[in-house]
């Protein structure tokens, strides 16, 4: 890091410099040069997520993400991670509804090694039952951790399953338990052949690298990989919801809670920005409405408006979720009534200029802080491109937030936070004996 004496915040430029290349086989590359530290974030985003699955093989995208670490023709299981970690790298991957992303945050001098190994596992993955079976068990353990034994995991699964009747966002990314048990290695290999090729890849390299030399490196390792023709993705859309839906989930719990989901918009829609501001006005920070009216006063343990942060919003219409956890001794039905009354007040009266300014400045400051990370800058560019086709949207976040008006907030509140557009799942506590009588948790 070369010390700079420039400590004038006004001189700082938030714009991410990005250069785009397209290889002959269809692979898209973005390079985001930043030479202040000798590090890079290498990201390989595959356009395949749980939305590409079918009933019966739910969770296969995520299981396959695990299998990508289980060895190639020349590397043993987990050797990919071990080799790159030994260079100082942070190695991991994540699967969402729309994409599967692999990343290596590395000293810049090892970028070529990262690319070589990524290309190797794309081309030469070697799987057999000895590696497949333990990994399936690992994912079953992960599902129990995240969903079954976690306080609200099954409630959230029930919420999505109830809110989405036709769109694949209705099933969990980790998959249903029965599908995880039923899936075969052949299913996984077929999925791999369909979705793992250059036409579905966006590579992002953010950090201490020159765009042309990065392009040459990517071309050297990925340029010769053939790509089958990519069939256009079928458009799927959840039909408009025509009335509130409710469900109950009984589970051993010390608290009563409800999760309410409202269908909103996908990452490419301009309403996402006023919705983000609205979420902060309601529950972001200790001066927010819900913190002051519910949490601080002890009516609720938590009352949070949850909207996947940019750029993690889904490609298609996502859910805005309000998670309400009643404090012990407080009535959940009363909390629910107070919550709907608070939303009605918002839709009727709108927000004050001070509330709007506070929320916008909080979002702006969070965005500025995040831009310190090469990794996050890369995710912004890669995921905006993958889900909207427009990577430059990553550079418009601050101006889009700044442009939000009180009228926008009123409009999105009235458009989306309607009773007919909401799904509510109530967590009803039961004793361990009652829980056992209801059948096995899966």
């Amino acid at each position: 890091m070369t010390p700079s004496r420039n400590f004038d915040p006004a001189a700082w430029q938030p714009e991410i410099t990005l250069k785009r290349f397209t290889l002959a086989n269809g692979l898209t590359l973005f390079v985001l040069p930043d030479h202040r530290l000798p590090i890079v974030s290498l990201q390989i985003h595959y356009k395949v997520g749980s939305r590409h699955e079918l009933p019966g093989i739910t969770g296969i995208s995520h299981l396959f993400e695990h299998l990508m670490f289980r060895g190639t023709e020349t590397l043993g299981p987990e050797e990919f991670s071990r080799i790159l970690q030994a260079k100082g790298g942070e190695i991991n991957a994540f699967t969402t509804r729309d994409n599967t992303s692999y990343f290596e945050n590395l000293p810049a001098e090892h970028l070529e090694l990262g690319l070589r190994l990524e290309a190797d596992r794309l081309l030469n993955l070697k799987l057999d039952d000895n590696t497949f079976q333990p990994e399936r068990q690992v994912v079953i353990s992960e599902r129990k951790l995240r969903s079954v034994d976690s306080p609200f995991g099954l409630v959230e699964e029930q919420l999505f399953a109830t809110a989405y009747t036709q769109h694949p966002y209705g099933w969990p990314v980790v998959g249903w338990d029965q599908d995880l048990h039923r899936m075969t290695l052949d299913d996984c290999l077929a999925y791999y052949r369909s979705h793992y090729h250059p036409g579905k890849i966006t590579v992002v390299i953010a950090g201490d690298v020159e765009p042309e030399s990065a392009r040459d490196l990517v071309d050297r390792y990925f340029g010769q990989i053939p790509a089958p023709a990519v069939a256009p993705e079928p458009k799927v859309a959840e039909p408009p919801q025509r009335g509130e839906r409710r469900a109950v989930l009984k589970k051993v719990s010390q608290v009563e809670a409800l999760f309410a989901g409202f269908h909103v918009v996908g990452l490419d829609h301009p309403d996402l920005y006023p919705l983000n501001v609205l979420a902060v006005i309601l529950s972001g920070g200790k001066a927010s409405r819900f913190h002051q009216d519910f949490v601080r006063k002890g009516k609720a343990i938590a009352l949070d408006v949850e909207l996947a942060p940019l750029p993690f919003s889904a490609q298609d219409s996502d859910l805005l979720i309000i998670a309400a956890v009643a404090a012990p001794g407080q009535s959940l039905p009363e909390l629910e009534q107070d919550l709907w009354a608070a939303l009605n007040r918002l839709a009727q009266d709108g927000v004050t200029p001070a509330e709007l300014a506070r929320a916008k400045k909080l979002l702006r400051s969070q965005a500025v802080r995040s831009l310190a990370h090469n990794f996050f800058r890369g995710l912004l560019v890669g995921l905006f491109h993958l889900k909207t086709g427009d990577a430059q949207l990553a550079n418009q976040i601050l101006s889009s937030l700044e442009a939000v008006t009180a009228d926008d907030i009123l409009r999105v509140a009235r458009t989306y936070l309607r009773e007919d557009n909401r799904t509510v799942v109530v967590l009803k506590p039961v004793t361990p004996e009652e829980s056992a009588a209801l059948g096995a948790l899966q």
């Binding site: 590090i39 333990p134 992960e142 802080r369």
Partner: protein, 437 residues
């Protein structure tokens, strides 16, 4: 490319309080932390939670501003204020855009120097804590962590839960919080850490103006440095949770203090044992080979006094006994035979190669600066760090494994459905059934 390490600037204010600063220019951000170098280890045994509650109450109003005014003023600048206590220290943190440097510096001084300790906010805080602790019982991972520390350390200072414990909540009054603050918030044991897009000369000037005459309280509690006289007997302990599908497993023994000369050999050895993700023996055996868990890691909590060494994992309940047995086998193997040349070289190159990734964010830098100050590691620590890592040899790593791993002295806690796992656990040795959390 070459890069220079961040320089840690240091000054002592007229009050005797230490100021540490790092100039940071990646983004216009400012991270301010006041660190009082005493924490939850000072909680009276019958009042766990005092230090952490006191920290939170500082954020809920000053002599001049109410909770709401303070929150509105801070958040209208896009900033955030948090305070919490941990082992060995209590931290008040204020972060925001560096364009608000003057206001953020003044607010930090106001929060730490002139707390309001409002009675009504204390009552609300107590009720919130009660509710949060009730809700925490639904989180098996958290409950296993808490129960393990209580089991292992008993009533000694590292044994309780930092945020408080349900049966003893009513023992805490606002006077206890005021007393903690009066005793422990003093220039002699306080450090202000400023990392941000601001020249240190201006930071120093502003800090001297705002903190120069602060006298604070004191004298602070004597530092807690000794290991407890009595610990839990080794063995297997089972807490029945019939509603869980997986068992939470904790296996450990007493570790060592941060000041121990074996710190670096131990760090490298533990990376290989269980901290290094897929490069670790525990992950290779229990996740990759057997598929028994999604995650497993080992950690030495090195504090002023010896903290715990703990292996932490979970597994579908039917595998419980086998996982406990495998963990013991892996620890025994490393204890007896040390690590290999290749493992050590890879662990060293990981820490050296990873080092610049820790310099991206102001928060990451601030965390390192606080640790350096808290444990007296020297302001040249970052410059010496990579050499210390490279200096570990196969012999010193093996000696660390010999001296600091105790496979015959393990305290194992299983929290899971006894109907599924108790019988197979008994094949490993006597199992003591624990009562409620």
């Amino acid at each position: 490319m070459a890069y220079s390490l961040p320089e840690i600037h240091q000054a002592t204010l007229p009050s005797g309080m230490k100021l540490l600063g790092v100039e940071y220019d990646r983004v216009p951000w400012l991270s301010l932390t006041f660190m009082a170098k005493r924490g939850a280890e000072t909680d009276p045994p019958d009042k766990p939670g005092v230090a952490d509650w006191a920290a939170e109450l500082l954020t809920l109003g000053t002599a001049r501003r109410t909770q709401l005014q303070l929150a509105e003023d801070i958040e209208s600048r896009g900033a955030s204020l948090n305070a919490r206590s941990g082992w060995d220290a209590t931290l008040v943190n204020l972060e925001g855009l560096s364009e608000d440097f003057a206001e953020l510096m003044a607010t930090m001084a106001e929060v730490v120097q002139t707390p309001g300790f409002p009675e009504d906010e204390f009552s609300l805080l107590a009720e919130r804590r009660r509710a949060e602790l009730v809700h925490q019982q639904d989180d098996p991972r958290e409950m296993a962590n808490i129960r393990y520390l209580r089991l292992f350390f008993g009533d000694s200072p590292y044994g309780h839960a930092v945020p408080g414990e349900l049966p003893r909540l009513d023992n805490i009054g606002v006077a206890d919080l005021k007393e903690f603050y009066r005793r422990e918030f003093t220039p002699a044991t306080g450090t202000l850490v400023v990392v941000g897009m601001e020249a240190f000369a201006r930071v120093k000037e502003e800090a001297a103006r705002l903190w120069g005459s602060w006298t604070g309280g004191g004298p602070a509690s004597p530092p807690y440095v000794a290991a407890p006289a009595r610990l839990c007997a080794p063995g297997i302990y089972l807490l029945d949770r019939p509603d869980l599908t997986q068992s939470e497993i904790r296996v450990g023994h007493l570790g060592m203090p941060r000041a121990h000369p074996d710190y670096f050999p131990l760090k490298l050895m533990n990376y290989i044992l269980g901290e290094g993700g897929f490069s670790s023996r525990l992950m290779a055996r229990i996740r990759s080979d057997l598929g028994f868990t999604y995650g497993i890691r080992s950690s030495f909590s090195c504090r002023r006094a010896p903290g715990p060494f703990i292996v932490n994992t979970f597994t579908p309940a039917a595998n419980t006994a086998q996982v406990v047995d495998e963990i013991r086998a892996v620890i025994t193997e490393v204890h007896q035979n040390g690590v290999t040349d290749q493992e050590l070289a890879e662990a060293q190159s990981f820490y050296v190669g990873h080092f610049p990734l820790g310099l991206e964010t102001s928060r990451g830098i601030a965390r390192q600066v606080m640790s350096i100050d808290l444990y007296d590691l020297g302001t040249d620590y970052l410059k010496r760090y990579c050499d210390q890592i490279r200096g570990v040899t196969l012999k010193t790593a093996a000696a660390a494994a010999q001296d600091h791993l105790q496979p015959d002295n393990l305290v194992t806690l299983v929290m899971g459905p006894a109907s599924v796992c108790a019988e197979s656990l008994r094949n490993l040795g006597p199992v003591k059934i624990l009562d409620e959390i």
